[in-house]
């Protein structure tokens, strides 16, 4: 919208107005990705400070808000990466973790773990809301690395290659994690829903 009213390439930075103009916006963005108020505050602060340090990198091609959001996004990735790395040394012997045991040796679903219809009507907003709440809880139960991989992939349609590089994963491990995270999420939803 604003692009039309402003002269092209006339974007400049105005750090003294950042807090007033963008602090709440960036805070909301951060909180939707990290789900932790304290961490989200820290991220906003770090974003502004990093922005001040790298003002000379601003080419004026994007809006100030877009530029700051990009910095914030990188900070969020750092958080994911730290979580992912901390995890490897902790409880997990390898980066992809345990296979959820939903299948028999021969690859068939175990009877008690087999997917059942949720019976949620697409047009029933109340049921959708409840299901959303259940999903949020289930997401929190995923191992940190899985959650990071999952969130990064869905957040901005981030390319698989760059996620693998960021989190130091092989492509094969990436897909195994996506799959296991999904199996667990779905099973968790089923347990909490049925």
């Amino acid at each position: 919208m604003d692009e039309l009213t402003k002269p092209p390439a006339g974007q400049t930075l105005d750090p003294k107005n950042w807090v007033t103009a963008y602090a709440d916006y960036l805070y909301r963005y951060a909180i939707s990705q990290v789900n932790d108020e304290d961490q989200a505050r820290d991220l906003v602060q770090e974003t502004f400070l990093a922005g001040l340090q790298s003002q000379h990198n601003f080419a004026g091609k994007s809006s100030e808000r877009t530029w700051l959001t990009a910095i914030l996004k990188n900070k969020i990735y750092d958080v994911y990466r730290k979580k992912a790395n901390g995890l490897k040394t902790e409880e997990m012997s390898n980066s992809i973790g345990e296979e959820p045991d939903f299948f028999h040796e021969d690859g068939h679903w175990k009877k008690e773990d087999a997917p059942q219809q949720f019976g949620v009507d697409d047009f029933d907003p109340l049921a959708r809301k409840e299901l959303n709440k259940a999903l949020k809880n289930c997401l929190q139960k995923l191992p940190a690395l899985w959650l990071s991989v999952f969130t990064m992939k869905h957040m901005e349609d981030e390319a698989t290659d760059s996620i693998c590089t960021e989190l130091r994963l092989t492509q094969a491990n990436f897909w195994v994690i996506i799959h296991r995270a999904k199996l667990n999420l779905r099973a968790c939803l089923q347990r909490n829903w049925m």
């Binding site: 750090p15 003294k16 805070y27 690859g107 897909w175």
Partner: protein, 91 residues
């Protein structure tokens, strides 16, 4: 034929392919194998539907803008403003 057998009768492999296909790509051969598996396996059909739904829900969850009520408290903002002003004046 052996490989084909494996997928046709293997829900573990089929669900892997389902999840991969939803956000990435699988080979033509895998697509055919998966299709054959789904013809005979209703349970994996349910899985596919639910997997797709979960992806949609997660996207909405992540992309939905948080309500405007969520704001930083004024004290924090003032401190932040002071910090930034100090940084600017340093240079």
């Amino acid at each position: 034929m052996n490989e084909l057998r494996k997928v046709i009768y293997n829900c573990r492999k089929a669900t892997y392919l389902i999840d991969k296909r939803l956000i990435g790509s699988i080979t033509f051969r895998e697509t055919v194998e998966l299709r054959i598996h789904l013809i005979g396996c209703k349970v994996c059909g349910i899985y596919m539907k639910q997997s797709k739904m979960i992806n949609q829900m997660i996207r909405q969850l992540l992309k939905s803008e948080k309500p405007q009520e969520i704001q930083l408290d004024e004290g924090f903002k003032e401190a932040l403003q002071a910090q930034i002003t100090a940084e600017i004046n340093k240079n």
